[in-house]
Amino acid sequence: MTALLFLIPAMLILGFIGLMAFFWAAKSGQYDDLDGAANRILYDDEDDAIDTDSEQKND
């Protein structure tokens, strides 16, 4: 039964991390353009798009 003392907090913490990760993703605009993201993989090269890495903000 001592396993429970370790497994239960682990379960809750992992779940909580997942939830926080989702919140972060939603807040930082990862879900703002689902159609675009699906189509962007069809771009052949990276040069086509303006580099936006850190500037991408949630409008």
């Binding site: 675009g36 086509d48 798009a49 936006t52 500037e55």
Partner: protein, 741 residues
């Protein structure tokens, strides 16, 4: 508006300056709506264009919302250059102010999404613990371990209920304070009672806790609500894009003679506004200088352009066809024609009466019945069976939990989501949530003529009477003109070569000198053709003259939408009453009505008269327990659209009409109207089936709960299986074949 774009794709769009945002760190940004993005190629082509400008720090297209944003360092860049490039690639652009867009919608959606995520997290964890407890009930699980698991569930579930339950609690409280009952009342009650009782049981070390039921209930319902909200928000955002693409600024002539583009609401009384040819007139005013033809179809429904000279009154929404005009603003704000129309619309809307949705109707009697059952269970066990009051109360609460309308709460939204998804793929946007529900009762359908049944675009009708030589000459002359009749000639004879040095005389016609020969193509007055007698109306027409003698007459007619006839026939076959309400002259309305086989038509109606007609039809429709659908597009239709029980507009309609309508459709085809009607009937059938399924579940579950057999395991299984059944049934709408068109 779309016609003008089709004619001339050169960039004559809106000046983006008023829409540029300046952030404190010196970065300017501009948001634009983009029309015409359909695939990765479109997106790539735009982003490639943007990438060519090194001054841009960011240029990104959002394919989902069909919008784009550009950011650049202060002053280093003129966005209209890029805009011209993009427009030349075939996309329409309109700048907008992101601040003014529906932020509350977006916030509500985010709130629902977070609530759903939290509920999902809680459900997964509580279920894991519950499974252990259920399994432990068959094997051996110590009291202590079970108690621990119950406490853990409580720690996860209770904050979740408080956080994720807010959308339901809020709406339930609002309904109760209005002395009404909606579905959220029993939902909230069940969730609160389940959590409260489970907490009590946990403290007491009891057997049955329902934390899993309350959080999974929350999760399922939030999924339904989120999807419903997103489908509607998406329809609204597309609607906003359409409206913004029509929005504009006014070119104000300043005191020093320079021209400055101002947003419409900043234009003051008495200022002079210049309107280029092909542009929509942005203000109400009188013509100061210039002579031009005006397309008034959006405002009055008339299909023949009128000519405008100094002193003539013009209104917002008319289109200037042939020459630049200067207009002195005579009305702003509340005194404009548009404001009048808006007032009429509001009056009509108030008279429309409240529509009670089916789900709320059912909730209206379902909730009292369920609560009564709970009370009877309590009394029965306590007084009848002699159980102690705590035991009896626990059983009563179990009844409330198990009858909680999870499936009922999903019955409508899931079908709605599937239906609106299906319609959206065909370019139909459902703006109001109850539109489909109202549509199923429709038995009378009113159409506007110009722009709705017709394309609002003339076409040459007596082509067979004219020789190719003549037409090629006319088309050559007409090539450079943007007058709709000229466009119609070019369209009828597209192979013609453009002629040089054709003179366009506004309000009259075209003139061309070829050596000694002098050709004129223009209206009756200009060529001195005798006017028709009183009572006879000429449709749109042009006369052709060579060296002073009139040779031919070219006749035009406002073209019907390609499938208008089929659509009207289908609608009539289905037993709907079809009525045509038009602001156009009797002659042209009669001709089109005859062509469509509609005997019930009314011409020369003013906006108020249209509303009166709609009210009259509503009375009649009510006798057969039906209601009235209005399909229209013009400014003059807006009050009628608001007065009808439910209304549809094409995306080419005036902004105000789109605002008034419940449904907007894109594209040229009218076949979407039958499709909308079919989907609304199917939706209704599925919703009713869903309710039936939910009731079946209740018929089985309630006796079990009353008898005290509803353990948490039974509750969890019964509730999720009934919800899944309802969702699966709703998805059948996807499978249903699209009406063969």
């Amino acid at each position: 508006m779309s016609q003008t774009h089709a004619i001339d794709r050169a960039f004559d769009g809106i000046d983006p300056k008023p829409f540029i945002h300046q952030s404190p760190d010196g970065v300017q940004s501009l948001h634009l709506m983009v029309d015409g993005i359909r695939c990765a190629g479109c997106m790539r082509s735009i982003e490639k264009t943007l990438a060519a400008y090194e001054q841009l720090k960011e240029g990104r297209v959002n394919m989902t919302s069909k919008r784009m944003v550009m950011r650049w360092q202060d002053g280093s860049f003129d966005p209209s250059v890029v805009m011209r490039d993009i427009v030349n690639k075939g996309f329409d652009l309109a700048p907008f102010d992101p601040e003014t867009m529906s932020n509350s919608d977006k916030e509500e959606e985010t709130r629902l999404l977070y609530a759903m995520a939290v509920a999902g997290f809680a459900m997964a964890n509580v279920m894991m613990l519950s499974f252990a407890v259920w399994a432990g009930a068959f094997a051996t699980m110590g009291e202590g371990t079970r108690g621990l698991f119950h406490w853990l569930s409580a720690i996860v579930a209770l904050p979740t209920v408080v956080y994720s339950g807010r959308p339901f609690f809020g709406s339930a409280i609002k309904a109760l304070s209005n002395k009404q009952l909606n579905m959220d009342v029993p939902i909230s009650l069940a969730i609160v009672l389940a959590s409260g009782m489970s907490l009590f049981e946990t403290i007491e070390g009891g057997d049955h806790v329902y934390f899993d039921a309350s959080v999974s209930l929350l999760f399922f319902l939030l999924v339904g609500r989120y999807l419903d909200h997103r489908a509607r928000a998406k329809a609204r955002s597309v609607g906003e894009n359409l409206v913004a693409l029509q929005a504009m600024t006014a070119d104000v002539v300043m005191d020093d003679g320079s021209i400055e583009a101002l947003p419409i609401h900043q234009v003051a009384l008495g200022t002079v506004v210049r309107v280029k040819k092909g542009d929509k007139i942005p203000v109400d005013g009188v013509v100061l200088a210039g002579l031009s033809d005006i397309d008034t179809s959006m405002v009055t429904g008339e299909s023949v352009p009128m000519s405008a000279k100094a002193g003539d009154q013009l209104y917002t929404g008319m289109i200037n066809l042939s020459a630049t005009l200067e207009i002195k603003v005579t009305a702003v704000g509340d005194s404009t024609l548009l404001a009048d129309i808006v007032r009429m619309m509001e009056n009509a809307e108030q008279a429309r009466g409240q529509f009670v949705r089916l789900a709320d109707k059912i909730a209206g009697w379902y909730a009292p019945v369920v609560h009564l059952l709970g009370l009877l269970t309590f009394l029965g066990w306590w007084l009848g069976m002699g159980a102690d009051w705590q035991q009896a109360l626990l059983l009563a609460i179990a009844v409330l939990i198990i009858t909680c309308p999870c499936a009922l709460g999903l019955a409508v939204p899931v079908v709605q989501v599937v239906a609106s998804g299906r319609l959206m793929r065909q370019g139909v946007l459902l703006k109001s949530g109850d539109a489909l529900e109202k549509l199923k009762n429709v038995n009378t359908i009113c159409f506007d003529k110009t722009g709705t049944l017709t394309l609002g675009k003339p076409a040459l009708v007596n082509r067979h009477l004219l020789s190719d030589d003549l037409l090629s000459l006319c088309a050559g002359m007409a090539y450079s003109s943007s007058h709709p009749l000229s466009r119609a000639i070019v369209e009828a004879f597209p192979t013609a070569k453009p002629l040089d040095q054709v003179k366009e005389i506004s309000g009259c016609g075209l003139e061309w000198q070829d050596g000694d020969d002098h050709y004129r193509l223009g209206n009756r007055q200009w060529l001195d053709v005798p006017a028709l007698q009183q009572g006879h109306e000429a449709g749109p027409e042009l006369w052709f003259e060579k060296n002073g003698s009139v040779l031919h007459c070219l006749k035009f007619v406002d073209q019907l939408r390609p499938d208008a006839l089929e659509t009207v026939q289908w609608i009539k076959e289905q037993g709907y009453r079809v009525v045509l309400l038009s602001g156009d002259h009797y002659g042209s309305v009669k001709a089109q009505a005859n062509a469509l086989g509609v005997d019930d038509f009314w011409a020369s109606l003013k906006p108020t008269e249209k509303v009166a007609k709609i009210d009259e039809l509503k009375e009649k429709a009510k006798l057969a327990n039906g209601c009235v659908l209005m399909v229209g597009d013009g400014l003059n239709d807006a009050p009628a659209l608001a007065a009808a029980d439910v209304s549809i507009s094409p995306a080419s309609a005036a902004d105000i009409s789109q605002t008034a309508s419940d449904i907007i459709f894109q594209g040229k085809s009218l076949a979407v109207v039958p499709e909308i009607l079919t989907v609304s009937k199917k939706t209704d059938r599925l919703v009713k089936q869903n309710f039936a399924l939910a009731f079946c579940y209740n018929i089985i579950a309630i006796p079990m709960a009353v008898a005290g057999l509803a353990t948490p395991l039974v509750a969890a299984i019964a509730m999720s299986s009934s919800s899944l059944l309802v969702i699966l049934n709703s998805l059948r709408l996807h499978l249903a074949k699209v009406k063969a068109s």
